[in-house]
């Protein structure tokens, strides 16, 4: 049904456009039109599309509801009150009606299925007919409107503006929706575990008893070890990626010949394209054992999964973010500033240090912040290379764990959904979100404060 409906819609729209444009073009020869013919065509398209989409968007859910209610009348009212049984009954009806039901169907069910099919066919036809009529009326309306003074151009552009606004809203509303759903589950979690214990507790051991008499069942939900682990790994990553990325960007933007740059920049960006799971097993299987051996030869005790290994590889991962973005902002510094500095007798490195980098400062900061956000949110490398042990340790040679790893560990598995353990994942997610949000706000403030406008 949908396929037919939208094919018809498209056909009507195309026909409307051609007709409208043609009519306007013909009339345009004798009098001067306000709008170009194609705008009149587009106006017809809009007046076909909008009512037809509206009919579909309203008609389909209403029709489905009516058909279902009607088909379910054969069942006992008690079935209808229970959400689960109602759903099961409906699935049975649809299965019988579409011939996919296995086993014997009761006469009542067969009757319901027949009602469902016939009603469904009827409403489908009704929607098709209604849509067709509305579409034709819309086309007629749009075509009638064509005249020399009609401002089709302005009308169409207003519609375009609304559509653009709609797309922007989808992005914003999605974010708001996610935040609220996470927030809701977080509130549930805090009904089971005190927020103070959660935020300031020093032990993380998210276990909840399945049976009351279980041994060692009391969970501990203190996020301190996760905070420390996340910060430790992120710090190591930024110590690697910050300088290397920035210096690479300076080389690419200021020193590299165009030929070197043309090759090196894409190559560096390929690094950003390596799936993190691949980097993860590189960290776990190559780097971590090597670090361990190195540590042993130096007399250090390195855990086989260590914050250092995860941090180093994560640093490699975010180098391209830092370097590519920094390279762009350094390139955006106008040549006239460099010329001014060279004209004063400054050397290349003085010019870079004292003029180019300060001018690009805000952009470099936002590149760094983006890289930190990536590092904080990165999961796979840490899962594979840093381990799961929630040690409260500042030692980069220990195994540590992070927010993301714990969220993943908690939600992979068959826990009851409303147990404190499962819900803690949402609370962790919320804290993580809050953390990256704070970073972004700080970055925006810095960018705003230090941004230079060049024309």
């Amino acid at each position: 049904m949908s396929l037919i409906y939208f094919t018809g819609l498209a056909a009507l729209a195309v026909a409307g456009f051609l007709l409208g444009r043609n009519r306007a073009a013909v009339a345009n020869r004798t009098e001067t039109f306000h709008s170009r013919p194609s705008y009149h065509g587009a106006y017809v398209v809009v007046s076909v599309l909008l009512p037809m989409l509206l009919v579909f968007a309203v008609g389909v859910p209403v029709a489905h509801h009516l058909v279902e209610t009607q088909a379910l009348t054969v069942f006992d009212p008690s079935v209808l009150d229970d959400e689960l049984r109602r759903g099961a009954a409906l699935r049975d009806i649809v299965a019988v009606a579409t011939g996919r039901h296995t086993g014997d169907a009761t006469p009542a069910l067969v009757r319901a299925a027949e009602t469902w099919s016939s009603l469904r066919a009827w409403t489908d036809n009704l929607i098709l007919a209604g849509g067709g009529i509305v579409g034709l009326l819309g086309a007629a309306y749009g075509l009638r409107a064509i005249s020399a003074t009609f401002r089709a151009r302005n009308r169409v552009e207003r519609v375009v503006k609304v559509v653009l606004f709609g797309c922007a809203s989808v992005a914003v509303l999605t974010t708001v929706g996610i935040v609220f759903s996470v927030l809701l589950e977080t509130v549930h979690f805090f009904q089971k575990v005190s927020p103070l214990d959660f935020l300031f507790g020093l032990e993380w051991s998210p276990q909840t008893a399945i049976r009351a008499d279980q041994v060692g069942s009391s969970g501990a939900f203190g996020i301190a070890p996760l905070v420390v682990g996340t910060l430790l790994i992120t710090t190591i990553a930024m110590l690697v990626a910050g300088p290397i990325g920035l210096f690479a960007a300076i080389y690419l933007a200021e020193y590299a010949s165009p030929r070197v740059r043309a090759v090196a920049k894409p190559l560096l960006e390929i690094l950003a394209g390596i799936p993190t799971v691949v980097l993860g097993f590189f960290a776990a299987l190559s780097l971590a054992p090597w670090l361990r051996e190195l540590g042993q030869s130096l007399g250090l005790n390195v855990a086989s999964e260590s914050a250092l290994a995860a941090g180093l590889v994560m640093g490699m991962m975010i180098i391209p973010f830092v370097s590519s973005l920094s390279d762009d902002v350094i390139n955006a510094v106008p040549q006239s500033l460099r010329d001014g500095s060279y004209g004063m007798g400054a050397t290349k490195s003085e010019t870079i240090k004292r003029v180019v980098l300060p001018a690009a400062f805000s952009g470099i900061v936002s590149a760094m912040m983006l890289a930190i956000s990536r590092a904080v949110g990165e999961t796979m490398i840490v899962v594979m290379a840093a381990g799961l042990a929630a040690n409260l340790s500042f030692n980069p040679l220990d195994a540590v764990t992070t927010f993301t790893v714990q969220i993943k560990t908690i939600l992979v598995g068959d826990q009851e959904f409303d147990s404190a353990k499962t819900l803690s994942a949402f609370a962790l997610g919320f804290v993580l979100f809050f953390f990256t949000l704070t970073l972004n706000v700080i970055a925006m403030q810095i960018v705003k404060r230090y941004r230079e406008q060049y024309d």
């Binding site: 165009p258 106008p334 006239s336 500033l337 460099r338 010329d339 001014g340 500095s341 060279y342 004209g343 004063m344 007798g345 400054a346 050397t347 003085e350 004292r354 003029v355 300060p358 001018a359 230079e452 406008q453």
Partner: protein
């Protein structure tokens, strides 16, 4: 002579006479410049007098800016640019491999077409040169250099209460005077100006021109300009470039009233350009 350019002959002649005896600061002999395959400047011979304003005029693309940028070797920063011939300043070859281009540029300052203050405070803009060349031993000396330079550039009175504000917050004309102050701060001997007023309004232009007249007491100034009126007003000597060739050079008043070359005459009477 149907010259479009009015030369205030009395003062121009007086000024020209005043500098006529000045020694030659820069000598260019057989200078050729190539941008890749393009031969941008052909066999230019030009003497530049000390403590005088020399104007380089000519239609767009004639090579006047290219010549100007040879004098402090700014062409070095352009990929594919090649300079041949000989340019000496105070009898020293500035293209000598032994010569440090950084020191040359400290002696030959430059002001660009578009004001290009650094995104720093007004103070730091002027202090930039003295800092990188280590001209001030302490903060007091640095401050004195900055204030003196701003005063010489005629900007001090307007900005003395807000030296900490960003240089980019000034108006276009003020920015250009800031750039002049920045150039003066390293005590150069020569100041090159590449169409310094083309982005400015007439009032700001008048201020800069006045300033040039004062600066010529102490500095050798070479200015590229599209405005023949400006060349007539500010310069004592004028060189006319056309299609990469130096057509004619002489005392400004004479170039604008009795040009020897047909092309110069056509240009200053507005027949092309």
């Amino acid at each position: 002579m149907n010259s479009m350019v009015q030369v205030d002959s009395a003062s121009a002649i007086a000024a020209a006479a005043a500098v006529a005896g000045n020694p030659v600061k820069i000598v260019a002999q057989g200078v050729n410049v190539y941008y890749g395959e393009k031969h941008a400047l052909r066999d230019v011979d030009l003497d530049i007098q000390e403590r005088a304003v020399t104007a380089l005029i000519g239609p767009s693309g004639c090579g006047k800016s290219t010549f100007l940028r040879c004098l402090n070797r700014m062409n070095d920063t352009i990929v594919g640019c090649r300079v041949t011939g000989k340019i000496t300043m105070d009898d020293q070859d500035i293209y000598d491999p032994q010569l440090d281009v950084v020191q040359l540029r400290a002696r030959v300052g430059m002001v660009f077409q578009k004001p290009n203050p650094f995104p720093k405070s007004i103070f730091e803009n002027v202090a930039y040169g003295p800092r990188i060349h280590g001209l001030a031993r302490n903060k007091a000396e640095l401050e004195e250099i900055v204030v003196t330079s701003l005063k010489r550039a005629g900007l001090y009175e307007e900005v003395k209460d807000r030296l900490g504000d960003s240089g980019t917050s000034l108006s276009g004309g003020q920015q250009q005077r800031l750039c002049i102050a920045r150039a003066i701060a390293v005590s150069p001997e020569v100041i090159l100006m590449d169409e310094p007023c083309s982005a400015l309004d007439p009032i700001a232009t008048a201020k800069i021109e006045e300033l040039m007249d004062e600066l010529r007491e102490n500095y050798t100034i070479v200015i590229v300009t599209h405005s023949m009126q400006q060349a007539a007003r500010v310069s004592q000597r004028t060189a006319f470039f056309h299609l990469g060739v130096l057509v004619e050079v002489g005392v400004t008043g004479e170039i604008f009233t009795t040009p020897r070359d047909r092309r110069t005459q056509d240009y200053i009477t507005g027949r092309f350009g």
